[in-house]
Point group: C2
Chain length 218, copies 2
DNA sequence: ACCTGAACACCGTTCAAGT
DNA sequence: ACCTGAACACCGTTCAAGT
């Protein structure tokens, strides 16, 4: 996009691409055009390159998506574990986890379902969380189940961020769904966004419940 | 696939397709071949028809996915609301909700993120849930937030169903993640699947927490 | 090693032509 | 109204050819 120079075939004197530049540009593109129009061709165009050039740096589109997921995961904040209380650390982790995805709303659908097997940085993130649970007094056999339960809620909440605001709007069928219409009206009187409110309610419940079940920070 | 008859151009004497047949076949196909190989062409092939024929019954692929999501939603069980206690009804709803998606593991990634705006049958499902919350004593302004929080957890848990079992396996990096390796080993001694266990733990916590916050069924 | 250009099989979708 | 056949623009990906 920047340089309007024409590049002939053959290896350039200094390489124009690298994996990191590609991943960042891909995230930017996906977030701006949405999953439908996100293609290798569009990404190449954004980077001022022809599509086959990308394949020198990423194996294929699937691998590209996995890499993008890793970049998103890297902004998840686990710094609380080891310095703050379990409750404060896990709150920080959960909020930054959801925020990481909320920062790329159009990316959520594509990225949330990519398995992140074997990504070193991501495993390091889980290691911090696990250590935090253990240090707070968790039984080893309960850590994975409890962490995954919380993570499921966080990811589900991230998906909810992109749900259209009128998703529950009955429209002209409001007469058949009086309860729904009523609670929607009652809720719209509250301050703050719908999705944020649900997340905070659920997060408080999950953290309280987990702490209670494991006799932590009562 | 069944009839090896060749069909010439022109309207057939009795139509071979209808919306319901298409949606059911699409769900079957998506579930068996996975999201990558799920295409209009493949679906047409499965129905013994050429791809353009599908467009007489569904507007486009996006609309097809929305319709499929509706079919999945229809197997969610709201029969408990009105007959059972709030706690039992909401448990039945949550388990059948997750089961509906778990029945189509390959479909989850594609379907979970489709908005379901304006689907009459789906709105009817939410209406039952809302009525159940109201009947149990919920404040009108709290119903949507609480229901969506629970639903976020359920959807996140449905996504977790398809996560590969070795997702957290550190592999040769086990030395760097001793905590993770330890809790994985401790957990594998437990009976039942990893995903089911997390779901049941989280569900109990969410339902207890919601009941407690709203002074229900204590 | 790292780019372009040409090529491949395949996509979703439109539309005219048939009955 | 509902199917096929032909056509369109566009995919992801491979590979030879250039530097």
């Amino acid at each position: 996009m920047d340089s309007s120079e024409v590049r002939r075939a053959g290896r350039p004197r200094t390489s124009v691409l690298d994996r990191e530049r590609i991943l960042v540009a891909a995230l930017r593109l996906l977030n701006s055009v949405g999953p439908e129009k996100f293609s290798m061709a569009a990404l190449a165009g954004e980077l001022g390159v022809k599509p086959p050039a990308l394949y020198h740096h990423v194996k294929n589109k699937q691998a590209l998506l996995v890499g993008m997921r890793e970049v998103v995961n890297e902004s998840i904040d686990v710094s609380g574990f080891g310095s703050l209380s379990w409750r404060e650390a896990v709150e920080r982790w959960a909020r930054s986890y959801r925020a990481a995805f909320s920062a790329h709303p159009n990316a959520i659908a594509l990225l949330a379902t990519e398995p992140i097997t074997g990504a070193t940085r991501t495993l390091a993130m889980y290691e911090c969380v696990v250590q935090g649970f253990l240090a707070a007094g968790w039984e080893a056999s309960a850590v994975m189940g409890d962490m995954v339960a919380l993570e499921s809620f966080i990811l589900g909440s991230a998906l909810d961020v992109v749900a259209p605001d009128d998703m529950f709007d009955p429209g002209d069928a409001a007469a058949q769904t009086p309860g729904l219409a009523g609670v929607l009206a009652a809720q719209s009187a509250l301050e703050g966004s719908r999705a944020n409110h649900s997340f905070e309610v659920g997060l408080a419940i999950m953290i309280d419940g987990l702490a209670r079940r494991n006799g932590v920070g009562m």
